[in-house]
């Protein structure tokens, strides 16, 4: 009994392109926070003061032609120092898996890196009382800013983004405990944090999708909303669970990108042309400018 989710929250489609800052910035902090997982802080006031949760930046190693391209990395949080009217730094959390991120992991505070952003649409401000965040692996990174905005601990962007959230639950799945970073910032911001691990070394043993039904069953469908980010297989299952219950679900897609600005047409995902779950009509859409956050009911997962 699939029902299409209510359109409580709509993502505005792109109108005029918003300002994208690009340049070379200084790394002010860089530390390892879990296996292969790094937290990096960059001094870039223009991006920090305008970025909203769920947006991303492109980061590129300066002065080299290999690796040639930038890499898309989600905004983890922005940093506003005492006395500053707006945020001046951004935090990024990344996993060193590929060539670029492995080289990046050796960069030190004081080193420079090329950055452009903020990019993409970001998560919509949630208009229901219960926000459930579902992440797998490195997919949790956008959710700290989401949590702090939802629970009014922090504001992001240049214009006010009102939310009506009263409770945030983070359901985070990892392969094993060594991949689990310190999630205290989520608890401090007021979120309930639930952990699962595939090998049972931390939290509930199993996949994050196995503990989700219990959480979703706490709420009336029209009082909850799910934001999801992680491996595509996980997002597909989460999207199906939400569709069955009539809970709105937004997924942040990760596709290989070359530019991040909508000019190369690499990062496409298949989207239904309408919200009708029975509709067959689809087209490729650019994740970088139309996403990375999409209403899950529109996404045709592979």
């Amino acid at each position: 009994m699939a029902s299409s989710p209510p359109n409580d929250i709509s993502i505005k489609t792109k109108k005029k392109a918003s300002y994208v800052w690009s340049g070379t910035v200084r790394i002010t902090q860089h530390e390892k926070i879990a296996k292969d997982t790094y937290h990096i802080r960059l001094e870039c006031p223009t991006i920090a003061s305008s970025a909203v949760p769920g947006q991303f930046v492109m980061m590129r190693l300066p002065g080299r032609e290999s690796p040639l391209l930038g890499r898309p990395l989600a905004l983890h949080d922005t940093v506003r120092h005492g006395g500053e009217a707006t945020a001046s730094e951004i935090d990024i959390v990344y996993i060193a898996l590929g060539r670029m991120t492995r080289i990046l992991s050796n960069f030190q505070p004081g080193d420079s890196i090329e950055v452009w952003g903020p990019l993409g649409n970001g998560f919509p401000p949630c208009q229901v009382p219960n926000l459930v965040l579902v992440s797998g692996g490195i997919g949790y990174t956008p959710f700290l800013a989401v949590t702090k905005e939802a629970l009014k601990r922090c504001s992001y962007g240049r214009t006010s983004r009102e939310t009506r959230v009263e409770k945030v639950v983070l359901c985070h799945g990892v392969r094993s405990s060594e991949y689990l970073p310190d999630l205290t910032p989520f608890s401090l911001a007021g979120a309930e944090v639930l952990i699962s691990s595939e090998d049972g070394t931390v939290g509930q043993r199993g996949l994050v999708t196995e503990m989700l039904p219990e959480v979703l069953d706490r709420y009336q469908p029209n009082s909850a909303c799910v934001f999801c980010c992680g491996p595509e297989a996980m997002m597909r299952v989460v999207a199906e669970m939400c569709a069955l219950r009539g809970v709105p679900c937004f997924v942040s897609l990760e596709t290989p990108m070359a530019c991040g600005m909508g000019i190369c047409f690499s990062c496409v995902a298949r989207l239904r042309e309408t919200n009708d779950a029975n509709s067959e009509a689809w087209d490729f859409h650019r994740v970088c400018v139309e996403g990375p956050v999409f209403d899950a009911s529109r996404v045709l997962f592979d």
Partner: protein, 331 residues
Amino acid sequence: MDLSVTIGKTCFPNPIMVASGTFGYAREMEGVLDVKRLGAIVPKTITLHPRKGNLPPRTVETSAGLLNSIGLDNDGIDAFLAKHMPYLAKIGVPIVVSIAGKTVAEFAELAARLDGHPGIAALELNISCPNVSGGVDFGADAEMCRRVVRAVRDRTKFTIFVKLTPNVTDIAQIGLAAEEGGADALTAINTCLGMAVDWRGRQPRLGNVLGGLSGPAIKPIALRCVYQLAKSVNIPVIGVGGVASVDDCMEFFVVGASAVQIGTASFYRPTAVIDILDQLPAALQAVGAERLSDVVGTLRLPQGAGQAACGGSLAAEPVEHGDQTHPKCSR
């Protein structure tokens, strides 16, 4: 310094253009840089009918390069004219509309539909896309090239650029055919056909298996092609392929390019095209040039090097008939 350059019937305010397929429909970049300063905008290639494009992954990074198989993803000419052309026309920069057809008739129809459309400065015939079936046929065969250019010439008063593929034995022969067909300029080069493989998974890295290589990795090939073309034809050549700095531009001018297009560099340095434009006057002044044409085609060859360098240098052995094939080559 006056940087303007006239190609065909069109005067371009400066020789720094953005290459088709690497700048979207320009609107995407209005938040990134001042699009009004560009020498020309070549929007993403349009076709008669909408095309979904190829399956992802559509791009793979390679050493100093980018391999792509986008597959001319576009919504067709009707959507282009309705959705994108009004914005493009308002920018105030010459708009060069890139078109691709499967047949001579399709190219001709596209040209006829666009002819006289306000805001368009020129057409660029994409007869060199390696990522669609039949995409390079017109660019790989001199007679077909001549026919398709002639058909477009008969249907449009616009300036015509013909974008050539490097994936041929003798690019000069194709360039001459385009000129005979009525081209006002040649754009060289489109991407070089390539491949990337995940050997452990026994899989191609691109959804469409083969793709086109761009970026710094192909600059030597592009320079060679521009050099060979400029020696052979009497129409301007627009250099494209791995241009990422003002020095790259100067290299293309010196081997004979009248203008350049910036492509992949915009992907990894969003303001590359503006940075280059800012640095161009000083680079020209530094060599005593008062205008761009003072440096175009000023390559000095070592004594006796002309003939061999003119031939189809893709061949492993020196080309013996270079002079007959390209009359302008003899030195």
